[in-house]
Amino acid sequence: MRDVAIVAFAQTAHRRRTDELSEVELLMPVLHEVLGATGLRANEIGFTCSGSADYFAGRAFSFTMALDGVGAHPPISESHVEMDGAWALYEAWVKIQTGEADTALVYSYGKSSPGRVRDVLTRQLDPYYLAPLWPDSVALAALQAQALIDAGATDEPALAEVAARNRTAAVGNPHAQLTGDVPAGDYLVRPLRTGDCPPIGDGAAAVVLAAGDTARALCARPAWIRGIDHRIEAHGLGVRDLTDSPSARLAAQRAGAFERPVDTAELHAPFTSQEVVLRKALGLGDDVRVNPSGGALAANPVMAAGLIRLGEAAARIHRGESDRALAHATSGPCLQQNLVAVLEGESTHA
């Protein structure tokens, strides 16, 4: 295996709407920021990979427009996943492992403001048994929350504490959309209140990956990807135990997360109840700093929020605030798909 690290990370200030910006206009500042941080020019990047989904813009192949922002002429090596950018990062990591590239630019963007994200996300559901009923993303998360309450794993005050802790942490995050003392609010779909749910907004993120000595040359303290894996479980909610996340646990195990303790975890848990599930599945104790960025409860640009977890974890290592961090991304209803990476800073004593 080649040593691969995240060497740069940038994200937009996430906002409820960005009507004045097209997707590429939203994205360009973060592309320039990560390239600027590494000193790389667009034509020096070995592989470019992006994540986004057409359903948010309501337009086919919307990601091809965003490609203008990376300077795709003369031709570059490029790919796209119709998923969160965390999975684009996984593809880029694989590409570097094959030896076909030494550096990669990974970016993703989510513009939820043109449509109604709760309705849009119903279109990712099974078209025979689920999609015709239009169960929205909050409704599905609420079913999971109630299952947790019935199992005695949490209660509404505990969920409110999860929300408060994340949004208090987000006060120190200049990119966050919803911070500080946010009211619990009314039930959106009971038992979830507005405060248990993520803000809806627009945003983008980008990272640069590099292998071996290239990474050391580009970054003072690279965030080495010691392991990365992603797993999926059944689509049908009635087949799963909604109080657990065996796919997150297996991905973490395959990524080596359980070999040694982590000091930081960036969890992609858009709903408070999902953090309860993930903490248990990933065996995170109270000594682990969970979501110092505020997590997806503070900013949830759908399709970028997972990549941002990897970027936030890496940035803490870059700054020397973490030595070993777990980064998690999710996709699909009720934590159906989970990606886990373990990031480490190089020890000065090694």
Binding site: Y128, W134, V239
Partner: protein, 315 residues
């Protein structure tokens, strides 16, 4: 922000899908008020059924009939139903394990309020008055009394007269599309029958329509440049097949046109000249019709053809 355009955008499609043997039996069964599950190799009865064993991945088709009554395994109260959801009044989303099934089905529960719903409560299917062979043939669940039916689910052939072999699931999503700053400026200029592009600060090329970025340099563009109205045909094709609902006689010519001052050709129809006389280098100008948002077509200006060297970079 008032100079940013916006417009409603509706994406609507009838999702037309074929069914395999197990899904066909299940959905046809719903039409006939019969709920079928499928038994896995391990003995679990899956409702709704699937065609492959989730554990072994082997094909499974051992159909059984389960009861129309069941138990709520989890629920969520929906105070504000959204368009196309099963009920228009507040209801509970429920996962229901039907008697005889080992897994739960997602649907809606019609109940007076959240205080009347709990995990473990007994419910039964309320059938839709008109059934077509779809999951919506179950109108919803409703509360009922009675203990779970403990008898073993009965084997079922899955055979029905006139089986359902496909579904059409209509989908509609509503958006408000905003094209961003650069394209808003372009569209606004078109209202005045002007065409504006944007110049790249690095390579100095003028892009039209502008997208706010130079695709070669990957940097933002902002300097507006008016281009045209005249231009040169850089390449073209002759369209011989009439598109549906298109009110243009075939054959007609569709061309790439490099407007004067632009470094990127745009598309347009060429008219006012026989289709077989259109050529590379032909000089053209836009023809606007009343209230149109774009030039209707381009017609020859009568100027001599442009020299190939003046547009070869744009072909």
């Amino acid at each position: 922000m008032s100079d940013i355009l916006s417009a409603p955008l509706v994406v609507e499609f009838p999702f037309t899908r074929s069914l395999g043997p197990v899904q066909s039996a299940f959905l046809t069964g719903l039409r006939e008020r019969t709920v079928l599950g499928v038994r896995t190799e391990g003995g679990t009865v899956l409702v709704p059924p699937v065609e492959y064993d989730p554990v072994t991945a082997n094909e499974i088709s051992d159909l059984v009939e389960v009861a129309p009554t069941g138990t709520v395994t989890t629920w969520a109260w929906n105070p504000d139903p959204r368009r196309d959801q099963p009920l228009g009044t507040p209801f509970a989303w429920v996962l229901v394990r039907l008697d005889g099934a080992g897994t739960a089905l997602l649907h809606a529960l019609d109940a007076p309020g959240p205080d009347t719903v709990r995990t473990g409560m007994r419910v039964r299917i309320r059938w839709a008055a008109t059934r077509t062979g779809a999951i919506t043939d179950i109108a919803c669940f409703e509360p009922c009394d009675g203990e779970p039916v403990s008898t073993e689910p009965a084997p079922h052939t899955g055979e029905f007269a006139d089986p359902v072999t496909g579904i059409v699931a209509p989908a509609r999503l509503d958006y408000v599309h905003t094209p961003g700053r650069a394209q808003s400026a372009y569209l606004t200029a078109l209202e005045g029958h002007r065409t504006v592009g944007e110049r790249c600060p690095a390579c100095r090329k003028v892009y039209v329509p502008p997208r706010g970025v130079c695709p070669t340099c990957g940097v933002a563009t902002a300097e507006q440049v008016e281009v045209g109205p005249r231009g040169t045909v850089t390449t073209f094709c002759i369209v011989n097949i009439k598109a549906k609902n298109l009110d243009i006689k075939v054959p007609y010519v569709y061309a790439h046109i490099a407007l004067d001052g632009a470094d990127l050709a745009l598309h347009g129809r060429i008219a006012g000249i026989p289709y077989d006389q259109v050529r590379m280098g032909l000089r053209v100008e836009p023809v606007w019709t009343e209230d149109a948002r774009h030039p209707d077509h381009y017609r020859p200006t009568g100027e001599p053809d442009a020299d190939y060297d003046t547009y070869k970079e744009l072909v």
